[in-house]
């Protein structure tokens, strides 16, 4: 069995405390992961400056090339992970076994991470609006119009408290490396695979190992990373996001409450957008913040809900190795039963209808895990509680709401795909501060253009634009 140890500035640390990563269905131990404590993180962070120093020994362009090489290694080659060599298929099996995601989805997430790594040059060009990257290395430079600009790095490392269940989110911290910012990561207890394999790929591609820390451990490790790294990101619940709201040191990622808004001008042709709506709801087993949890329209909502239910309602819980598997397991059975109990409360409200009721039971309980089959709920008004709900499986509420009331009623929305040609409404949508990523037209919410910032621009988070004057 694989044993994976914490990495402290690139050096494996043989911990005496280990945590077993368990197969979600069989209960078998897949790997042992060495654990650290918060004190060790605190001790190490005194040397954080060395991480950026090691990375600054290379130019950003060199690091971008190394990232491209790392992408190839990550996607195609066996890599040293822990005390063994991990093939691509090992990685996919392991990730699926501990997270409950079907294997083909693990493969898709792997490709997504590789896409970002392979296209790092373009991504950084977009995030920096084309500034020469050596400005980020030196801290200042000429913007190109004879204007001096300065971007001062705010932290030698980016800390990240990573989630258990969503291998797709790792794209968010990858651009830190070519910007010469080290990484201090706390992998999720069930998803250590991507961070470990990615860091291994970076090191094999020639990026200095001393730029990386990987700290599996308990809550104290997460809180120490958050308090000791000047810049960090965390993935958690709406409560976590609320807790860090307004904190300039923390980028908090939580539920997306992503939505599709059908304009009055096109809603009579809703069937044209059915594929896009189904994909937005059900891709990647509906787990991500980028999955659609609400479809809003002023009319035809019952028919829309019926049509989506007919497409996703029959989905079955299949083994993760089945290429047709579309649902991820809840690896913690209580999560499935608890979510189901919350949905029962949602459904008890008048004006709320379960459109998937005729497609068989939704809650599937197994010995060690659980599944929730897709649900489409119709809400006759935006005031229904279910209109503001998001769960970690394909779950969508189709909400009847006049177009004029939509923007103010939808609440915080990570991705809003508005299908309309109504110029006045597009203008209102563009100015709506409760929508983060705005798609105008038929763009599935899960189809992210990585050349756009996601929940904040990482360069603006890590670097401060400040005055820098040079005497003639």
């Amino acid at each position: 069995m694989l044993t994976i140890q914490p990495l402290r500035w690139g050096k494996p640390y043989k911990s005496l405390d280990t945590f077993d990563v368990i197969h979600f269905d069989t209960g078998e131990s897949i790997a042992k992961i060495g654990q650290v404590n918060g004190g060790m993180v605190q001790m190490d962070m005194r040397k954080a400056d060395q991480a950026r120093k090691a990375l600054r020994a290379f130019s950003c362009d060199d690091l971008i090339k190394k990232c491209e090489h790392a992408a190839k290694l990550f996607e195609h080659e066996p890599l040293p992970v822990g005390d063994g060599m991990q093939s691509v298929s090992d990685f996919i099996h392991q990730q699926s076994a501990s997270t409950g995601l079907p294997e083909h989805m693990c493969q898709s997430n792997m490709k997504k991470n590789c896409f970002v790594l392979s296209n790092m040059s373009k991504i950084l060009s977009c995030l920096t609006r084309g500034l020469p990257l050596d400005i980020y290395t030196k801290g200042y430079g000429d913007e190109g119009r004879g204007v001096t600009v300065s971007y001062q790095c705010q932290s030698p490392v980016l800390g990240a408290v990573l989630p258990n269940n969503s291998p797709g989110v790792h794209t968010l911290w990858l651009p830190a490396v070519p910007l010469q910012v080290g990484l201090v990561l706390k992998p999720g207890s069930q998803e250590p695979w991507t961070p470990y394999r990615m860091i291994s790929a970076f090191i094999q591609a020639g990026i200095p190992a001393e730029a990386f820390c990987l700290y599996p451990g308990g809550h104290d490790v997460g809180s120490t990373i958050m308090s000791k790294c000047s810049k960090s990101m965390i993935f958690g619940s709406a409560q976590t996001v609320q807790q860090y709201s307004g904190n300039p040191h923390v980028q908090a990622h939580g539920p997306g409450f992503s939505k599709i808004l059908l304009g009055d001008d096109i809603v009579d042709r809703w069937e044209d957008y059915l594929d896009m709506m189904v994909e937005s709801v059900a891709s990647n087993s509906g787990r991500g913040c980028i999955n659609c949890s609400g479809i809003w329209a002023s009319r035809h909502t019952k028919q829309i809900a019926e049509a989506i239910a007919a497409r996703i309602g029959p989905m079955e819980a299949l083994p993760p190795t089945d290429p047709k598997a579309e649902l991820a397991a809840f690896t913690n059975k209580q999560m499935a039963t608890g979510t189901w109990a919350m949905i029962q409360q949602d459904l008890a409200e008048s004006g709320v209808t379960d459109m998937t009721a005729s497609y068989g039971p939704r809650l599937v309980e197994r010995e060690r895990c659980g599944y929730l089959r897709p649900m489409v709920i119709h809400a006759d008004s935006p005031t229904r509680g279910v209109a503001a709900k998001e769960y970690m499986f394909p779950f969508v509420s189709v909400v009847e709401c006049p177009q004029k009331d939509m923007i103010k009623s939808i609440g915080q929305t990570l991705i809003g795909s508005a299908i309309t040609h109504d110029a006045a409404w597009i203008d209102e949508l563009t100015n709506a501060v409760n929508i983060d990523r705005l798609n105008i037209g038929s763009i599935a919410t899960n189809r992210l253009n990585w050349l756009q910032p996601h929940e904040g621009n990482l360069t603006e988070f890590l670097f401060r634009n400040r005055a820098y004057q040079l005497a003639n």
Partner: protein, 379 residues
């Protein structure tokens, strides 16, 4: 004597030492029972209990194993007054302390003490290496204060060794409340408040060489000093007596290697983990070594107290060496008698050690039966 397979550890106690210790324990048990159940010397509590027993302890307790005839001690009996019912008649009139444990909500458990804390800590003092705990050195007490025995006990330990003890206030009940309320910022500030005081004392030229600290406070203190560019060693600390909350081998390794800058022979700083409570006293640990993967094995101050590791389903049955069970404590002093009490901990049964030729316990952690509902290791 334990049946050994493979190579015996170098520190294993000899069969004759184990046998002698057992004889001493049996004799001490009989003497203690006679004291607590005799009408002229026993406490009102135990004399009252005697009437409920189906046997006569004065006649039928002839060795340690006979204590299993008693029903299990219930710590609930320690809640509320009058605490005088616990004072043996043979000690009536002596100056008496009352020490509390628990009590974040509701009535705390109380134990009356006359001299036990002094005796326990004097015995413990003889286990401390003078090289690292020099006689005459001053101490810092960085642990719970108020109605707890630890603060007075550490102060006595220091005085017994010829030093003066510097203390801070620390109220663990308030710490537990902060955690339960989720007031983590307040918790951090309170911790900082305690650590700031400790740093002030340590850096004020008081010739402090030794200290008591709980593991968490020791870590915080070392971190606080690191932020000021110094270390415990640089502040002059050579001996640390730690306890009060759970130790793990990994934490101990981190503490020794990183906070204390190495094992004593390299760093000049010696840290000894201990296990104890108000009911039992203080159990010492076998010296911790890297070869032994920083295993922490505790040995009770027998015959005044005994630790057994018993089957989870049968508290009269001691588990095999190396096997896991519930920690069962016995206390047998002239002041206090506990004929078997199931602690809130579990651990592995350890072989007798040359210095302490009786059973020990390692891997002490909250009993899995209620670990999730207990707030532990808070300060």
């Amino acid at each position: 004597m334990p049946i050994m397979t493979g190579t015996s550890p170098a520190w294993l106690a000899s069969p004759s030492d184990v046998s002698e210790a057992k004889q001493r324990l049996d004799a001490h048990t009989v003497e203690t029972v006679q004291w607590h159940f005799h009408e002229s010397t026993g406490s009102p509590f135990w004399l009252g209990k005697k009437a409920e027993l189906k046997f006569d302890p004065l006649k039928e307790i002839k060795c340690f194993d006979d204590l299993k005839k008693f029903p299990m001690f219930e710590d609930e009996w320690l809640r509320g007054g009058p605490v005088e019912r616990w004072i043996p008649k043979g000690l009536a009139g002596k100056p008496t302390y009352v020490f509390e444990t628990g009590g974040t909500t509701g009535i705390p458990k109380s134990r009356v003490v006359i001299d036990d804390f002094r005796i326990d800590y004097e015995l413990f003092s003889h286990t401390l290496p003078d090289e690292y705990f020099p006689k005459g050195a001053n101490w810092l007490m960085l642990g719970p204060s108020g109605p707890r025995r630890l603060r007075l006990a550490v102060e006595h330990l220091c005085q017994y060794r010829g030093g003066i003890c510097f203390c801070i206030d620390l109220d663990p009940r308030w710490v537990i409340k902060l955690i339960k309320k989720g007031w983590m910022e307040h918790l951090e500030e309170y911790k900082k408040h305690c650590i700031d005081q400790a740093i002030t004392i340590l850096t004020a030229n008081h010739n402090i060489k030794c200290m008591f600290a709980t593991p968490k406070l020791l870590e915080s203190l070392a971190m606080g000093l690191a932020e000021k560019g110094t270390t415990l060693r640089e502040c002059g600390i050579t001996g640390i007596f730690s306890g009060g909350t759970e130790f793990t081998p990994q934490w101990t390794r981190f503490c020794v290697e990183e906070l204390l800058e190495g094992l004593p022979e390299q760093s000049g700083v010696y840290m000894t983990p201990t296990y104890g409570n108000t009911l039992m006293g203080l159990a010492c640990s076998r010296p911790i070594t890297d070869e032994d993967d920083y295993t922490i094995a505790y040995y009770a101050p027998q015959p005044r107290a005994v630790v057994e590791i018993v089957d989870f389903d049968d508290s009269d049955k001691v588990v095999e060496y190396g096997k896991t069970g519930r920690v069962k404590l016995y206390t047998m002093t002239k002041e206090f008698f506990v004929p078997g009490f199931l602690e809130r901990d579990e651990g592995e049964r350890e072989l007798p050690f040359e210095k302490y030729p009786w059973d020990g316990v390692s891997g002490v952690r909250p009993f899995h039966g209620f670990a999730s509902t207990t707030t532990v290791g808070v300060y």
